[in-house]
Every structure is written in C-alpha cells, then in structure tokens.
C-alpha cells in the first residue's frame, strides 16, 4: 500500500510517495499551476507514475497541503459575502483594533475589510457578558436582511452576534431563517468556527471563512473527482494549520483551518524526526527561497497558538483570525534574499527576494542582484556543475560580478563580500531562532535543531554552533520536507472554548465539565465510540487576575486546584521569568487537542556497510571560510552513498539531489541508522 502527499508551494508542487511494505520513498517536483492548483497536483502525480512507476490503485492514504486557501484570501478570489451582526456593530469588521503599528507614517491605514459597509447588515438582538438575553432576536428583521442579500446577489453570509461564544442560540436561529429564505446561499455562524471571545477577531474569522468557503468547496470537490478519475480511491485528507490532517469533507466547511497548511506539514515532519532521534524538544528551521520559518516542538508536541494574523507585518495589523495554527516565526531571509548596500554604506540582506523569477543571478534567468544562493556559490559551498541533481548549471562568473559593488563598498575581495552576506543572513536567522527559544524561556542546549528547505542545510551547522544546540539534524528529503511531514501527521482537531472564571473548586468543576463536552465533540468529529481511540491533550489558558494575556498551561482531568496551579505558576515563570503565587488565577480559555491514533510514516533502516567511507566521496572542493581562514579544501560526499553509523569530521560537504550540507571544522557528522545526518561539535 502507498501513502501519498502533495504539497502546493508558490513555485513547485511536491509529491512524496511512501510504500508501506518496502519503505521505499519516491518524490517528484513539478511547477505549480497558479490558476487552478489541482492541475499541478495531477501533473505531479502523472510525473510520479511515469518516472517512478507509482501504482495509483495501491494508494490507500492521500494528503494534500498548500497555499490554496491563503491565496484565495490574499488575492481576493472569494465570493460576494454579507455580514449579519448585532445592531450597533456593523463597523466592527472595518474598525478592527484601530491600531497604527506604522507609528511614524502619517498616511497609515487599516487594511480594507473583505465586506463593504453596504453588505454589513444589522439585526436587533442582544446578549450580555454573562450570556443573559437582554433583547430577544427580532425575527421580522431577518426577512428584511434576506431581501437585501437576495437583491445584491450575495453568495455567502456570516452571522456574528455578540457573546455567541457563551450562547449561540440567536446566531443559530438567525442562520436557520436566512437559509430557508435564501436557498443556495451559504450561511454560517461565527460559533461554527470559533467559540472564543473578542468580537473583531471572531467576526473577521467568520467573514473570511464565509468569503472563501464556496471557492474552496468547489476546489476540493473538483480535486476529489479528478483523483477518483485517475483511480485514487482512498480516504482523502488535507493538511491543516495545526500540524494534523482532516478529511476533505471537514475542511470544506472550515477552510480557514488550512491557512498555514504548508509550513504545518514541515512541523509534523519535525515531530516525527524528534521521535526518531529520541529528542522531545526540537527546533525547526525551514529555509525557503524568500523566507525562513522557525518553530519549536516541546515534549514532542508542536506549539499551537489560538490566533493567526494574516498579512501582518511590522507596518500593518493585517487580519486576525481565530484558528489553531502552529506557532511559527517567519523572517524575510531565504536563499533568494537580495544583498544590498544603502546610501549610508550599510549592508542589508532581504527582505527583498529574487524569488524563483528571476531568481538568483547564478540561475541565469535574468536576475542581476546578488542573493544568498549566489553567495554560497561564490564561496564554494555549491557546485556549479552539480546543482539540483545536475539539472542546472550555475553561472559562477555572473554571480561574482554581482558581488563586485558590495566588495567595492566594503573594500574587500568578492569572496569576502559573499561571506559577509552569508554572515548577515545567518545573524538574522539566529535572532528569529532566539525569539522562539531563549526569549520564550527555552534553553537551546536542550534542543535539537532540525534544518530543512533547499537553502537550509548549507547554513545549518553554523546556526547550530552559534545557538549552542545539542545537535543539528538534516532529515531525509530536506528539499521536499513539508510533503514528507504530511505523511507523518495524524488526523487532528483543535477545540477551543472561552470559559471565564476563577480557578477555585467551582471553577475546576466547570473546567472538567466543559472538557467532557469537548471530548464528546471530538469523539463525534472522528466518529469514534470511545476516547481511547484518540490522543487527547488538555490545556487551560489562564492568567493572574489583572493580567490581560493568558498563558497556556497543560491540564490533566485529575488535576486538583493546587496541582494545576503548580503547573500554571511554573509555566508562567518559564515564559516570563517570574510567578505570583499569592495572586488569584483566572481561567479564560480551554483547549483540547485531539488526534486520532493511526499509522504514520516510518523511517526505514538504511544499510550498515563495512566498506570504507572513501567510496562515498565524490571529490574535493575549495570553500572560503572567511578572511581569517581563507580557502580550505573540503572533501565532498554523496549522501546517498553514506551508510549507517559512519562518522566524518569537518570540514566537508555532503551533497544530495535537493540540497547541500556544509559541516564546519570542529564538527562531526554521523549518519543514523534511519539515514538522518546528525552534526555535533567535537569535544
């Protein structure tokens, strides 16, 4: 039987096929088709059939991830949508939080709402903050709203009433009425997708979900029928943003859960790698063409945050949505990041990127600005003759020319300029990696750094050394790791509910009873009869009375008030350096992570040969190690020819089809029995 994953990225659509009997893995990469991504998915499948004899009839698990949902939103490709909300609050969607992060810009503004004011409609009804009905729903007004929607040709409606996270009866009743009045229009309530407080964030969530829902629904129906046509007849899953998968049917109703689908695949993969090397705490760095993303895995669990800020930047508040997303810090530093000198003579790397078109100068596709990838070619880490499995010859002369202006400004040689650019890119990444570790109270010395992405392994060992991690790990298939990770993900749902009360005996009872309801909801979601078929993980968001921001602390169903408070105080101290054991603690939200126990990808054993490592050596190459060391001759190895247990001391280079890894002097690399490269510092 074969498990199949496809990951649609900005440039490439990746496929990984895993044969469960033989452990054999095949992968292909084809160009992403932007107008209809499913075409690219089908292309990559047919490519795999031709080149690797993929047997589609044998596929018993299919998972699909990628940028479909986020693209539909950022490219405004959703449907004509209306918002129906509590009287007096139609402008909440457009006001947002009113913040102006671009402090000194006198022309700053909030990004435009996805629904113009004319389709934001109000209905008389009101609940108070305790869930009491202050004003009953005026049903007669629903008919008027329906008329407006019908006349305007509205295709989807989000119904959002204040305090529906406590009691959604008004939302549900209003939606029912609208559905009966407007057949064919997709009507959804905010409580269907979020049961958390904060009216702007919940409104934004419901609106964006409604806005893309019909489009994504069509996309998945279309993909499903195409897959059936070519003979794939198995359960179909989509990679969600929470590190788990869900069936096509589930995500059709909640497309927003797919918003960070691709990066989440890499995190699921990193969790699996952590299990393989017996490292519960893993720091993942995924370096792509334009950005690098980092994320922390603690105790074998990805860190999930309850909110996602779409299109957020230092200068824009973006659009906040309440969906469970793996906690990722992203910075504008990737292989395609452009190096530049400003008027003041300062050198910068990124955030501008040459992307895939025109790409780095050395690709010879019209790029003229020097990038990180060009720098790596100039200093010898990349082999101009043997890039991407020899599919492309890199133009080293043009890359060197592109660095001349920087060399001139720095008054140094071209290779020194290139190595300076790499140092700056590395420093940017170190800052991001520290943000998710040291700054959140986690000591890098306890962590294994897993580095993926085509541009990652070349920088990995330097970052690992600077951060002082336990080990640096280059997993299998680092160039298509998100797709690989999707085969390591379990079916998963994250259920959250706002519960606002003090943590005392009464509060604890409420917590338990709410969790029992959430467990029942999870069982129903996975259609299982008992919770034993699920991995359940409970957490409670709580804070010291007076604080605004909550800390998520692990919760056990048999916790007492005292035992939970111990966990909470310790968690608070880890995150924020102090605890206030005397202060009352209040609960704000509950979070249940539920995973369906099922098989995932195994890492197959690789041969342990007695032969000399000399047979794995492909040649030698000079690499420039900065002005202090100059050019140093490094042996070059072929990863596919390395064997289990072999150990090599740096400096050296290991090449494989999708990437190149540089091991530094003073480091040793070991190939594990499952084919992972683990790099540590020599004593």
């Amino acid at each position: 039987m074969v498990r199949l994953a496809t990951d649609v990225g900005g440039t490439f659509t990746d496929l990984i096929a895993y044969d469960e009997e033989t452990g054999k893995i095949t992968f292909t990469k084809t160009l992403t088709t932007t107008d209809d991504q499913s075409t690219g998915v089908l292309n990559t499948i047919s490519d795999a059939c031709e080149t690797s004899n993929l047997d589609l009839a044998a596929v018993d698990f299919f998972v699909h991830g990628g940028t479909t949902v986020i693209n539909a939103i950022t490219e405004w490709k959703g449907v004509k949508t209306a918002l129906v909300t509590t009287r007096g609050f139609r402008d909440v969607l457009e006001i947002g939080r009113g913040n102006r992060p671009d402090l000194y810009n006198l022309k700053a503004r909030t990004p435009p709402p996805y629904i113009p004011r004319r389709y934001r409609l109000e209905i008389t009804e009101r609940l108070d903050g305790q869930g009491n009905i202050v004003t009953p729903l005026v049903e007669a007004e629903v008919a008027e709203v329906a008329d407006i929607c019908r006349d305007a040709g509205i295709e989807a409606i989000a119904v959002v009433f204040l305090h529906s996270y406590i009691d959604d009866r008004h939302e549900v009743r209003c939606a029912d009425l609208l559905r009966s009045l407007l057949p064919g229009v997709m009507v959804s309530t905010s409580s269907q997708i979020s049961q958390q407080w904060r009216e702007y964030e919940r409104t934004s969530t419901a609106v964006l979900n409604a806005y893309v829902q019909p489009v994504i629904d069509r996309y998945f129906r279309n993909l499903e029928s195409k897959l059936t046509e070519i003979g794939i007849d198995c359960p179909l899953y989509a990679m969600q943003s929470n590190g788990g998968v869900a069936t096509f049917n589930d995500v059709r109703l909640q497309p927003l859960t797919l918003v960070e689908s691709g990066p989440s695949g890499a995190i699921a993969g990193a969790v699996r790698i952590g299990q393989a090397i017996d490292a519960p705490d893993v720091l993942l760095l995924d370096v792509g063409g334009t950005t690098a993303k980092c994320s922390l895995i603690r105790n074998g669990r990805p860190q999930i945050v309850p909110e996602y800020k779409l299109e957020w930047s230092r200068f824009s508040p973006g659009y906040t949505v309440q969906v469970s997303v793996v906690d990722i810090v992203e910075i504008g530093a990737g292989g395609g990041s452009i190096a530049s000198i400003d008027d003041a003579g300062h050198i910068h790397v990124g955030p501008d990127s040459a992307g895939s078109t025109p790409g780095p100068v050395c690709y010879g596709r019209g790029g003229t600005l020097p990038t990180v990838t060009d720098a790596k070619l100039v200093i010898g880490i990349l082999d101009p003759e043997n890039f991407a499995n020899g599919q492309m010859v890199l133009d080293i002369a043009s890359a060197r020319t592109a660095f001349e202006p920087i060399a001139l400004a720095l008054k140094c040689s071209v290779e020194e300029a290139a190595s300076a650019v790499i140092r700056i890119a590395e420093a940017n990444m170190i800052n991001a990696l520290k943000l998710v570790t040291v700054q959140r109270g986690h000591d890098p010395r306890d962590l294994s750094l897993v580095v993926t992405g085509g541009a990652g392994p070349m920088l990995a060992t330097k970052l690992g050394r600077e951060l002082n991690v336990k080990s640096t790990v280059i997993p299998v298939y680092p160039g298509v790791f998100s797709a690989w990770g999707m085969l390591a993900a379990l079916p998963r749902t994250d259920l959250r509910r706002t519960l606002f009360c003090e943590m005392d005996n009464e509060g604890l009872e409420k917590v338990r009873s709410e969790f029992q309801q959430l467990i029942a909801q999870a069982e129903q979601h996975f259609n299982v009869s008992e919770a034993a078929e699920l991995h359940l993980h409970f957490s409670v968001e709580a804070r010291y009375q007076g604080q605004e921001h909550s800390v998520s602390a692990a919760f056990q169903l048999n916790d007492t008030v005292a035992s939970f408070l111990d966990t909470f105080h310790a968690t608070h101290e880890t995150a924020y350096t102090f605890q206030l054991p005397e202060s009352p603690v209040e609960i704000t939200n509950l979070h249940l992570q539920a995973e369906y126990k099922s098989d995932i990808i195994a890492l197959s054993e690789i041969p342990k040969e007695k032969q000399s490592v000399i047979h794995s050596k492909k040649g030698v190459r000079d690499v420039f190690f900065g002005p202090d060391y100059g050019w140093v001759e490094c042996p070059v190895y072929d990863r596919e020819l390395l064997f289990s247990g072999c150990q090599l001391e740096g400096p050296l280079i290991i090449e494989e089809p999708t990437t190149t890894c540089l091991v530094l002097p003073g480091q040793v690399v070991e190939m594990t029995s499952t084919g992972l490269l683990v790099i540590t510092e020599l004593e």
Partner: protein
C-alpha cells in the same frame, strides 16, 4: 581581548549590521516581556510604554515603541540620572524616575533604568517606561482633569535607586505601595519592568562577550552616525526657508479659554530649527508639557519626515534643534500640573506637521481628530472591587493627496494601540456597549478626497456606583483641511441621564456621577479633506451613498450633485 583605552576604532559595516539586528531584537524582546507580563490594561492594550537602550553618554541606540509619546524622552532621562549619580553606579543597580521636570512626561509614566556593565566598564543603559494605572494623587488614575498643581498628580520618584545588587529596597517599595491605589498593579508593573531591563542586560552582555567591548561601543556610535547622515541628507534636499503654523488648544481642563500656540520652522542647509517662541504661557490646568515631552512631540513628526519606517535612534535627530522660552504651555516649570500633557503636546506635533506638509505633501495627511479622547470610567464591580477603566478612542484621520482619510485610527500620540474588546469589557465591568461604529452624523471634511470617519462608542451603565472624568481637546477647533479641503469635525462626550430630557455635551469634566440606565457616548471627529470638494469624483460620491456614509440629499448639499447628476454618473 585587551580593554586598554584606544581611539574608537571604525567597525566594519557587516558587524554593525549584525549588532544593529541584535539591538533591535533585544528591544523587541523587551517589549514582548512588558506587554505579556504587565497587569495594567493601559500597558498591554494601549501599549503606553516603550523600551530602549542608551549609550553611556545617554544617546539612544535602539528603541521599541508602542506609541510615539516616548520618541526621544529616554536620552533626557538617562542624562539626568547619570549627572546625579556619576560614578556611584554599579552592576545590579536599578533606578526609577517619573519626574516630568527631568525628562519625563507625567508622573504616571514610570521609567526603570538599569546601568549595564561589562567587566567593570559601563557599556549601556537599558530603560523602560510604562504608564502605571495609578500613582496616587487626588483621583483614581492620578489624572485630575482640573488639577492646578503637580502635587495633585501623585507621587514623584525623582531619579532614585530602587535596587542594589538586584535586591529591591524594601523601604522604598513600601513607600510606593502605601502611596498608590491598587498597589498590586503597581508592583506587577514594577516587576515586569525589572524583568524587561534584565533581559536587555543579558543580551547585551552576550553580544559583548562575542564581539568585545570596544567593537560594541564603536558600533553604537556608528549606528547613530549613519542615521544622522541619512537625516541630514533629507533635510538638505528641502528648500531653505521659514515655515510657520498656528493652532489653538481648546481649553486646559480648568477653563475653556482658547490657548493659542504657534511654531516657526527654519530650514537652513541640512539643519532644522523649530521655534515655539510666542506660544501661550503655562496654563493653570494640566495640558502643559515640559521640555522633554515637547522635544518628543517634535521628534515624532521629524521622524515622519526624514524616515518613517527606519528604527529610531538619537542620530536621526542630530539635525534638529527645538527652541522654546521658559514658562510656556510647552515648557512648564514646577509646580505646574502636566497630567494631561499629551492633549497639549500633540499640538506641538501638529504645528510642525502643518508647517512642513506643503514641503512634502506626499508624506502628510490633512488634520486628524488629534485627541486621544480618553474617558476614565471608575466605580465598583459587582463584587465591590474598585475598577478604573481608561479608554482612549480611535478617530478620523485627514485625507491625503491621493485618497480619502483613514477611518477610526488611533491618534498621533499613540500608535500600536488597540481598542478594547466589547465582549471582554462586558464580561468584566457593569456596562453594556450599545453602539460601536462610525460617527456618520458628525461627518468629515469634504474635499476631492474626504477625511476619514470618527467613532461613536455608547455605554449604558448597569450600576449606580460609577463615575467618569475626561479631558478631550479638538472640541471646538476642528481638524484642518489641505489645499482647499474642508475642515473635519470635533470630539465630545454626550451624556443622557434618565432624569434629563436632553443630553448634555462635555469635553473636560472632573467627575460625573452616573446612575444605572445612564448613557455615555464618546464621539470622535472626522478628519479634514484634501482638495476642493467640487473635484470629488461622482464614483466616490456614489460609493459613499451606497455605503451609508451620506444620503443623496447630503451629497447635494456638500458636493452640489443632484439626484439626476448622480444617476447620470452611474450610466
């Protein structure tokens, strides 16, 4: 590495870039610690705080800002402290200051300063300032709207050492605890601030361990030097000349008397002088600011002019001089009250803005609603606990040369400031919010591009034990228009009690006792327009009508467009 004194060496640009990144990451991290751990809504929602790192000479090297009010107050405060303690500082010391007359703003803004040493040498200062919800004084929140003396505005901590060897001085802590309302909040913020400066110390020491004391020190100078060069280049490109602006501050909290203010800006080569000679004398009420806050206000707009997006440091302000005679509303001396200083100092920012806008119209907007329109709601919760709810409101910004003004954005003095979630508020406080939406009825400045809309936030009280006070400027002088655009609209608070048949409007009020069922409506103004209203496109007018921003009748009155013309435009 040797620490022998050498002439400051020039650091290579690569190391400067790497250290700049580390410094910015550090001030960001300080900001994160501050928001996440603070107990005060004004810190974690309004982001009324800032964190920074200063060189041993006081020069600001890196700063994280949630708001603009602290643009350039740090250097002043650090220098004042360094002058007092000179060689009497050691590793583990922590200082505290909230003195408006030593570089501070108002007593609520408490700064914590940590000298950072590396191998016995002073490397830098870490500083963080946060608005404490209460610092004592005559009213909860410490900001009496009608204060006439600084002694009504709470406890002053005039640059004193609060910890040695990382041990807090218990006597001082007790003194503070006994002189503020809600001491647990104050101590929570103090703790958060100390955690914040310690993080900075750890990061800076790590960097210095790696790069060496001299390299890091030299990088500090280099960072400022290069910003200063960039800044001078921008000023040099502007035409030399004298540019002036006048405005009025609408009342000081004690009286409604207009307070005329003015600026005279001189650009000569790569230098700019902002001269506030001629402004009204220090007022009786608390809208005064001190020189430090004035400089901060001018620097805010100067930064908007020279480079709005680059990280802030002292270097950017090298080409700027601020001149003000003593004893004006912008240069108050002891014992003048300064509690509501930001309602005054914002006018200094706007004067500079208005004077410079014609030089770089593509970077400026027309006048905005200006005032933070802060309302303090205090009272008792159901369980009898005291609550103090401070709420700034967002409002309309002016139109720009290329589009309509921004709706409902926070005023210039703040920044990354969030509004309060209605759902959270109603879960905690005995109020219902009846309306939170655009202030359509108040209108905006018409023009080729119109101003942005302000807001209406309407509270219904669910208790008899509550009161409010407020201090709101731009209550009678509306936001200005540009290039023939119309003026915007004004800010006010409207109270409708059960007893009175007609609502009352106020803008400064020291204490209004509320009853259950009373409605309090905070109304913020719309921004000024840009360009003549007859040049507004029919499409823009039609869109405004369709979105309910105006009726066809109003379109006729404002833009002279009849129904027929509108219809024809549609075709």
């Amino acid at each position: 590495m040797s620490n022998s004194p050498e002439p400051i060496k020039k650091v290579d640009p690569v190391t400067v870039e790497i250290l700049t990144g580390k410094l910015l990451a550090t001030v960001d991290e300080m900001g994160i610690i501050m928001t996440k751990t603070s107990m005060s809504p004004i810190v974690y929602e309004v982001l009324d705080f800032a964190c920074g790192i200063c060189a041993p000479n006081g020069d600001l090297i890196a700063q994280s800002n949630g708001i603009t009010l602290f643009t350039g107050t740090f250097s002043y405060q650090v220098r004042a402290l360094a002058a007092r303690y000179k060689d009497d500082m050691a590793t583990g010391d922590i200082f505290v200051t909230n003195d408006p007359f030593a570089g501070g703003t108002h007593p609520n803004d408490v700064a914590i300063i940590r000298p950072i040493f590396f191998e016995e040498q002073l490397l830098a200062y870490a500083i963080t300032v946060a608005h404490w919800l209460d610092i004592g004084g005559t009213v909860p929140g410490s900001l009496p709207v009608d204060a006439t003396s600084l002694f009504q505005e709470g406890l002053r901590l005039p640059g004193i050492r609060i910890a040695r060897e990382d041990k807090l001085n218990d006597d001082l802590v007790r003194l503070i605890e006994e002189n503020v309302r809600m001491p647990e909040l104050a101590m929570g913020d103090l703790r958060a601030q100390i955690a914040t400066v310690r993080i900075a110390e750890r990061n800076l020491r790590d960097a210095t361990q790696k790069y060496g004391f001299e390299t890091v020190s030299a990088a500090f100078s280099e960072i400022n030097e290069s910003s200063s060069q960039s800044s001078r280049r921008v000023i040099a490109e502007l035409p030399d000349g004298v540019y002036e602006a006048q405005d009025t501050i609408d009342g000081d909290g004690v009286t409604d008397d207009p307070i005329p203010v003015c600026v005279r800006i001189t650009i000569a080569g790569d230098h700019m002088t902002a001269d506030f000679t001629g402004c009204s004398p220090t007022t009786a009420g608390p809208v005064n600011c001190t020189r430090g806050a004035l400089e901060s206000a001018v620097k805010t707009v100067f930064k908007a002019l020279v480079d709005p997006s680059a990280p802030s440091n002292e270097g950017w302000f090298a080409p700027l001089d601020v001149i003000v005679p003593e004893g004006t509303v912008f240069s108050a001396a002891k014992p003048a009250p300064t509690g509501w200083y930001y309602e005054g100092s914002v006018h200094a920012s706007e004067l500079v803005w208005r004077a410079l806008a014609p030089l770089k119209p593509e970077q400026f907007s027309a006048g905005s609603y200006t005032s933070l329109t802060v309302l303090y709601l205090t009272g008792k919760k159901e369980n009898g606990d005291l609550f103090v709810h401070i709420e700034p409101q967002h409002g309309g910004w002016g139109a720009t040369s290329d589009r309509d003004g921004a709706n409902a954005l926070i005023a210039l003095t703040d920044g990354d400031t969030y509004n309060h979630s209605v759902e959270l508020l109603e879960a905690k406080l005995p109020v219902l919010v009846r309306r939170y939406g655009f202030n359509i009825e108040g209108g905006v400045g018409a023009g080729r591009h119109r101003g942005g809309y302000g807001l209406i936030r309407e509270y219904e009280m669910r208790t008899d034990e509550a009161s409010f006070f407020c201090g709101i400027s731009r209550n009678s002088t509306p936001p200005w228009g540009m290039e023939g655009g119309a003026v915007g609209s004004c800010n006010f608070v409207e109270v409708q009690t059960a007893a009175d048949s007609t609502p009352s409007r106020v803008h400064h009020h020291p204490n209004w006792q509320l009853q259950e069922g009373d409605h309090v409506k905070v109304v913020t103004g719309g921004g000024g327009g840009w360009g003549a209203s007859e040049d507004r496109s029919i499409t823009d007018i039609q869109t405004d009508i369709a979105d309910g921003f105006m009726t066809p009748e109003e379109a006729f009155e404002t833009y002279g467009l009849s129904q027929t013309a509108l219809k024809m435009g549609e075709e």
